[in-house]
Symmetry: C3
Subunit: 267 residues, 3 copies
C-alpha cells in the first residue's frame, strides 16, 4: 500500500503528460479523468505528429477501440517512438479477438513491447489467441479465467498484464496482485475501462522517472479506480449521478482513502 | 401500453448489442444512454470490421451526421450485412436535405430497406426530397408537418418512420402513434435525438428475436425517452443538471412510470 | 459592460448557428456549451459539406487540435468560404508551435484573415513563432507574457487576439481589454478553452449582423465564461460537479450577473 501511495503522490507532484491515442467514444471522459487525477492529457493521432509527440510525452496510451486507418498508422509510428525515447507505453486491446483489423494491429504492436497491457478477460484472451473475444467491448469472461493466459502473455512479452473485473488482476513475472474495489455501476458508464488504461499510462509516466516499481504503478492505477468507484457507488445509485461522483472521487482523494476503500492482495 | 412495456422488459432481459455507426459529436452520450437503458453499445466504423460486426450485433444504427469518408464506406457495407443476417437497422438522417454528401448517402441506403428511420420533421422532409432541410441539425418544421411525407416514405420504403418533436409521431403502413412526453430542456442537451435513434435500434434488437411487433418497439423507445425527459424536466431546470437527471431516469424506471409520464395515442 | 450585455442579449435573441470544425476530444462539450448559451451548434468536417455550410452558418470555428487529414482539407476550404460569404470566423490554434502539421495549417489559415484568434499564451506565442509552444495543450506561459506578441499578431493579421489565462486578454488595434473571472477548476475540465473558442464564434455571429463591435463580442464571450466559471467554482469543489454547475451557469444567467461575477478593464 505504501508503494501505491508513493506512485500516486509522484503522479500528483509531477503532472505527467499522457499521449492518448484512443477510440472515438472516450476521448472526453479520458481527458477529464486524467485531469481529475492530476495528469495532463493530449490526444494526438496524425501519424507525423504522433511519432513526434510520443517522444515528448511522459507516457503513451494506445487503445485500439474504434479508430480510423489514419490513426492506426499513427499508432504504428508512435509506439516505437515511445520506446526509442525510453517512455512507457500501454496497450489497451479493446474488442481484440472479435474483430480482425484491430486484432492484427494489437498483435503487431506487441513487437514494440508495451510496458503494460490492460483489458478485460475476453480481451486478454483474445489478444493471446486463447479465445475469440467477447461481444465487442463486453467481457464475457471473469478476470480469474484469464490468469494463466495473463501469466503466459507477461512471460512472452515482458509486459505487466492487467485484467479488469469485479476483482482486478495485475500480473508480471513472478507476481500476481489482486485489487478489490469499484462498483457494479462502473460498467454502466462508458469509458471507465478505457480511462483506466490512460490512468495506467499516467502512473507509469510518474513512476519511471522516479525509479518506482512499474508493477506497483499499474496496481496504483487500479487502486485509484477501485477507490473512486467504491466512493461513487456509495453516493449514487444511477449512472448519470454516478459518473459525476466518480470524477469527483478521482480528484479529491487523500492517501488514507486508498486503503479504506480497496483491498490489495499479493498472491 | 402493455406492448410497450413488453418491449422494454425484453430489452432489459436480453441486453441487445447495438452496433452504432454515428457522428463525431455523440458517441459518448449514445453509449451512456444505451448502457443506462440496459443495452450494450459498440461503435465500429472501419469498413472491414463494420461489415462483420453488423452480422454479429442485435441491431445496427446508421447516423449520417458528421462522419468521415471512411465511415461512410463502412456504412455502405454494414447496412446490407445487417439485412443479410436478418438484423434490424435504423437510419438517422441527421441534417439530410441540407448537405449533399450525407443526403446522397442516406438516399442510397434506402435501397437496403431500413427497419426504421428516425429524425426530426426537417430531416424526414429532407430525406424524402420534400424540403431542403433545416439549419443543419435544427428542426425548422413541426412533427405534424411531416405526417403526410412520413406516410409516403413508410409506403415507399417499408420502414417505420419516427418523427421527433414536442409530440413524437411513429408512422407505418396503416398506423400512426403519437407519444407525448419529454421536456423543453431536451433540445438543449446534445445527442438526445441521436441517442433516441440508438434506443430505437436497441428496442428493435430486443423485439425481433422475441417476435414482438416492431412498430411497438419504435413506440417503446420514444415512450422511454418521453418518460425520462419528463422526469428529468421535473427535477432540473438547467441543461447540465438536466443531462445527469435524464441519464438517471433512463436507468431507474419501473413499468408503471411509462404510463404515468407519457401519453401514447393511436390515430 | 453595456456593450457586453448587448452582444449577449443579441446572441440569445438570434440563436446564431455556429459551424464547428473542432478536435476529436471536445465536440460534445462544445455543442452543449453552445446550446446552453443560446446558440445552435453544427459540426461539419467533410470538405465538400464544410465549404457549403461555412457560407450558411452565422460563424465558423476552426480548432486545429487533434483532427484528421480529411478534416484539415475541409478547414482549408471552409475558412475562405466563410470569408467569401461575409461570415466571421475564429481560429483556435491548439498546441500550435509544438506540433508541425497543425502549426503549418494554422499559419496557412492566417491568409484567410480570421476575425478572431483565441488560445492560451503558449499557443499565441507558438502561432506567431515566438515560442515553441507548451506541453501540447497546456499553457506554460502566462497571458500577460503574450501581450506584445498579441499586439503584433493583431497588427499583422487584422484579427482580434484573445489570450486565455487566470485573467484573459482581448487585444486589437489600439485596444486591450482584461477580463477577470473564472475558476482554478476550469483547467481541470477538458474543453473549457475549446468551448470558449466556439462561444467567441457565437458572439461574433450575433454581433456582426446587428452591427455591434466585434472586439466587444470577443470580450462578451470571455465575460460569459468568466461569470459561469466563477459561479460554478462557488458551488462545486470537484471537477465532475463543477462541470455540471458550469453548464448550468452558462445557461441561466441574467444581465446583472456578468458585472457581479467578472471585472472587465480597458487598458
Amino acid at each position: 500500500m505504501s508503494q501505491v501511495t508513493a506512485v500516486l503522490e509522484e503522479l500528483q507532484r509531477t503532472t505527467p503528460l499522457v499521449h492518448c491515442m484512443t477510440n472515438t467514444v472516450v476521448p472526453e471522459v479520458t481527458a477529464n479523468v486524467l485531469l481529475a487525477i492530476g495528469a495532463a492529457p493530449a490526444m494526438i493521432d496524425l501519424p507525423e505528429e504522433a511519432e513526434i509527440f510520443a517522444g515528448i510525452a511522459s507516457a503513451l496510451l494506445v487503445n485500439v477501440g474504434n479508430g480510423s486507418a489514419e490513426q492506426h498508422a499513427g499508432m504504428r509510428r508512435a509506439a516505437p517512438a515511445a520506446v526509442a525515447a525510453g517512455k512507457p507505453w500501454v496497450l489497451d486491446p479493446v474488442a481484440v479477438g472479435a474483430l480482425p483489423v484491430r486484432t492484427a494491429l494489437a498483435r503487431d504492436l506487441l513487437a514494440d513491447r508495451p510496458t503494460a497491457i490492460r483489458g478485460n478477460a475476453s480481451e486478454i484472451l483474445g489478444l493471446a489467441g486463447t479465445s475469440s473475444g467477447g461481444r465487442g467491448v463486453d467481457s464475457t469472461d471473469e478476470a480469474e479465467a484469464a490468469l494463466d493466459t495473463a501469466r503466459q502473455l507477461a512471460g512472452d512479452t515482458g509486459a505487466i498484464i492487467a485484467v479488469s473485473g469485479p476483482v482486478d488482476l495485475v500480473v508480471s513475472a513472478g507476481r500476481v496482485t489482486r485489487i478489490d474495489g469499484g462498483s457494479a455501476m462502473m460498467p454502466l458508464v462508458i469509458g471507465t475501462g478505457c480511462a483506466l488504461g490512460a490512468t495506467v499510462a499516467a502512473c507509469l509516466g510518474a513512476a519511471r522517472p522516479a525509479g518506482l516499481d512499474e508493477h506497483d504503478a499499474v496496481v496504483a492505477a487500479h487502486a485509484l479506480f477501485g477507490m473512486a468507484g467504491r466512493i461513487a457507488g456509495h453516493e449514487a445509485v444511477s449512472p448519470g449521478s454516478f459518473r459525476t461522483a466518480w470524477i469527483d472521487a478521482l480528484h479529491g482523494w487523500k492517501p488514507g482513502d486508498i486503503g479504506q476503500w480497496t483491498t490489495i492482495t499479493e498472491a
